[in-house]
């Protein structure tokens, strides 16, 4: 009997403690308010770990470099860059977006690195009037849905697809082009544009899948089509074995890939087979990028800026300029981004009403794999 009383008493005490504790809320880290007159915190999200991290890290490094240089130049205007790793998975990006939106200290967002996670989180950032500036999400649909928060400092896939068609017609003077994509939003999206662009040059197509390693059927199809050029929409992990097998089968058709292959891993993965492959990218060659960016990047990280390194730098710069102009509220920064009009390191940055960078300012470059390195070949005229 006595034990029962004790238990009941214990229960009541527990409940009281819980209720009492609930009363004295610790606000946690979630509601810090911006206090400084200048500066603030920017969030960036993307696949910083996981299998696709290789494509994203350079742009993160570019952003970090921009912030570092800014803080060194403006000691009384401190800017912090907070990373949020999503592994490229929209399911992880959504709660992260809630966190960023709910924490008032975040004044702008660099990202998302990929199109899927950007699409999943755009409405959240829009509702929080947070400006997003993506260095690398290139799916055309992202700017077609009328989202007010989303901007990107990179040309979209349709521009790149159109540029590739021009390249096939004018530079390579191809007569038959075989199209291959990996079925991802990115790969299939670009190839759709190329298909529309090349018109009668179309010789056939195949869809491969992620993690595929044997491409016998694809090789047979390419052989059967007698194409003299191949366009591949996708990433390194499938492109490298595919290209090796195409070359081993004696197919000499010109291989053209897109920015997903603007990646040193592609060259080392495909080895000798990569020689002479063309990679188009809406990114400036490092030595053409404005100012001292390429040298600074090399100095900071010991490697040349990879894919979207310059875009990452530009995306951060947009926000840094906003801080410099004394903007400290989300809505003001969003307005500032919309009106942004300045030369960046990758291109001239000015957004149109949909959030795409001004079409006339987009430059697409063709790069060629030469002697185991990706070398700038020529700018592709878009007209």
């Amino acid at each position: 009997m006595k034990r029962n009383y004790l238990r009941a008493l214990g229960g009541v005490a527990m409940a009281a403690a819980l209720i009492g504790a609930a009363g004295c809320q610790d606000s946690g880290s979630g509601t810090e308010t911006p206090s400084a007159q200048c500066g603030g915190t920017i969030a960036t999200f993307g696949a910083f770990t996981g299998p696709n991290a290789g494509l994203v890290i350079p742009s993160l490094q570019g952003s970090k470099l921009a912030v570092k240089q800014f803080n060194e130049a403006n000691p009384n205007c401190k800017v912090t860059l907070q990373e949020f790793d999503t592994q490229g998975d929209p399911a992880q990006a959504t709660p992260i977006a809630n966190q960023i939106a709910g924490d008032q200290k975040f004044l702008g967002v660099i990202g998302g690195a990929f199109s899927g996670e950007s699409k999943a989180t755009m409405p959240i950032y829009e509702a929080a009037s947070l400006a997003m500036v993506s260095p690398s999400a290139t799916n055309p649909e992202l700017t077609a849905v009328g989202n007010k928060a989303f901007h990107r400092v990179v040309g979209n896939d349709s521009t790149q697809g159109a540029a590739a068609s021009v390249y096939f017609k004018n530079t390579l003077k191809s007569t038959k082009v075989f199209l291959i994509d990996d079925g991802t939003t990115y790969g299939a999206g670009i190839i759709k544009e190329v298909k529309a662009g090349i018109g009668s040059l179309f010789a056939g197509e195949d869809k491969v899948q992620e993690k595929q390693t044997n491409f016998d059927a694809t090789v047979s199809k390419v052989k059967g089509s007698q194409a003299d050029a191949i366009a591949y929409g996708g990433y390194t992990n499938e492109a490298a074995p595919l290209l090796k097998q195409l070359r081993a089968a004696g197919i000499t058709a010109k291989f053209v890939g897109f920015d997903g292959l603007y990646d040193p891993g592609f060259v080392s993965g495909a080895g000798a087979a990569a020689e002479g492959a063309i990679v188009t990218c809406p990114c400036l060659p490092a030595d053409k990028a404005g100012g001292t960016f390429a040298a600074d990047f090399q100095k900071e990280y010991g490697v040349a800026p990879g894919s979207y390194g310059a875009e990452g730098f530009d995306a951060a710069t947009v926000f840094l300029e906003a801080f410099k102009a004394g903007k400290t509220a989300r809505a003001d920064i969003l307005a500032f981004v919309k009106a942004y009009d300045k030369q960046g390191v990758s291109k001239y940055i000015k957004f149109d009403t949909t959030g795409d960078v001004d079409k006339t300012k987009v430059v697409i470059w063709a790069y060629e794999v030469k002697g185991g390195a990706i070398v700038a070949q020529s700018e592709i005229a878009l007209s």
């Binding site: 491409f215 090796k244 495909a270």
Partner: protein, 313 residues
């Protein structure tokens, strides 16, 4: 469905499929051996194979191999690769058995626990290589230049396909002979038939199980060599898809049956190439699984039936 593309070149597609399936078959042997003896699926076997592909890659890059070396050197490198691959894969298989499976066997846990353990081992091995070698494909030099050596109709058979098919067959016949004709093989069959009686007959069951894992590992090492020679790439997570295919091949032929693994592997390779030709490469996995389900519905024990113990001795 592009039936035209399939039939115009049916010979070519069949050869491509057979060469593709031969590698499945060698890996499938590992599943089949372990299953035949322990009645367990060793889901970590795909990673045993992956370790082999990396070991051979490491061996070649250590020697600074470049593209298309002279034939003599190439043959030496391939034989060396076979040793390295077999040692690495066999060793990994043995390690997995000794550190993890033996403990579980002593507790006599249900198969589900084995399965999750195997998945955990796979994950650990994958992550080790992913962290160590990066997440992107790793390219290797080509040792033997691919050349068409035989033309039947409009089907071109190249030297690499012949090497793959012949070596796979040789390995397979050797294993079949080992299991059916040698003393150790008899011990394996005895344990597969009835572990307790085998123990009564003085067979050391633990030794037999270790032997089975090592044999499966050696076959995986050979498959790794053929893979590296043919595809010249590897990646930390490359085992997942191949393991799935190899296991499907083993089940298709009748798991626990060595000859079934060969038949299942070759058949699966051909089905996939046919399927990818008929539609698009992205559907080939669907073809593989649909065929598996259909076969299992009508022959629940696979095409040749499952029997390692009752193998025609």
């Amino acid at each position: 469905m592009n039936w035209n593309a399939l039939f115009e070149n049916i010979g070519q597609h069949t050869i491509d499929g057979l060469a593709k399936g031969a590698i499945f078959a060698l890996v499938a042997l590992g599943y089949t051996l372990v299953y035949g003896v322990l009645r367990l699926i060793n889901f970590a076997h795909s990673e045993v194979w992956m370790v082999g592909t990396f070991a051979i890659f490491g061996f070649w890059s250590l020697l600074g191999v470049t593209d298309n070396p002279p034939l003599g050197t190439a043959i030496m490198l391939l034989l060396g690769g076979l040793l390295v691959g077999a040692a690495a894969s066999g060793g990994t298989a043995l390690l997995v058995e000794r550190t993890a499976y033996r403990r579980l066997r002593q507790k006599n846990v249900p198969p589900l626990i084995f399965l999750i353990t195997a998945i955990a081992i796979s994950l650990v091995l994958q992550e080790i290589f992913g962290l160590w070698q990066g997440r992107l494909v790793v390219g290797m030099p080509s040792l033997i230049k691919r050349e068409t050596v035989l033309t039947i109709g409009n089907a071109e058979i190249n030297n690499i396909q012949i090497i793959i098919l012949v070596s796979a067959l040789v390995m397979m016949v050797g294993l079949d002979w080992f299991v059916n004709k040698t003393r150790n093989g008899r011990a394996i069959r005895a344990v597969a038939q009835n572990p307790d009686s085998a123990a009564l007959m003085g067979i050391n069951k633990d030794r037999v199980i270790m032997l089975v894992f090592v044999l499966g590992g050696i076959m995986a090492g050979a498959a790794a060599l053929l893979w590296d020679m043919r595809y010249q790439i590897t990646k930390f997570d490359i085992g997942f898809v191949l393991g799935l295919k190899a296991f499907t091949a083993a089940v298709l032929g009748g798991i626990g049956n060595l000859r079934g693994a060969l038949l299942g592997g070759l058949l699966l390779g051909v089905i996939e190439v046919y399927g990818a030709t008929l539609t698009q490469s992205t559907w080939e996995d669907v073809f593989a699984f649909v065929v598996l389900v259909v076969v299992l519905l009508f022959r629940p024990t696979g095409l040749l039936g499952e029997s390692l113990g009752r193998a025609r001795a």
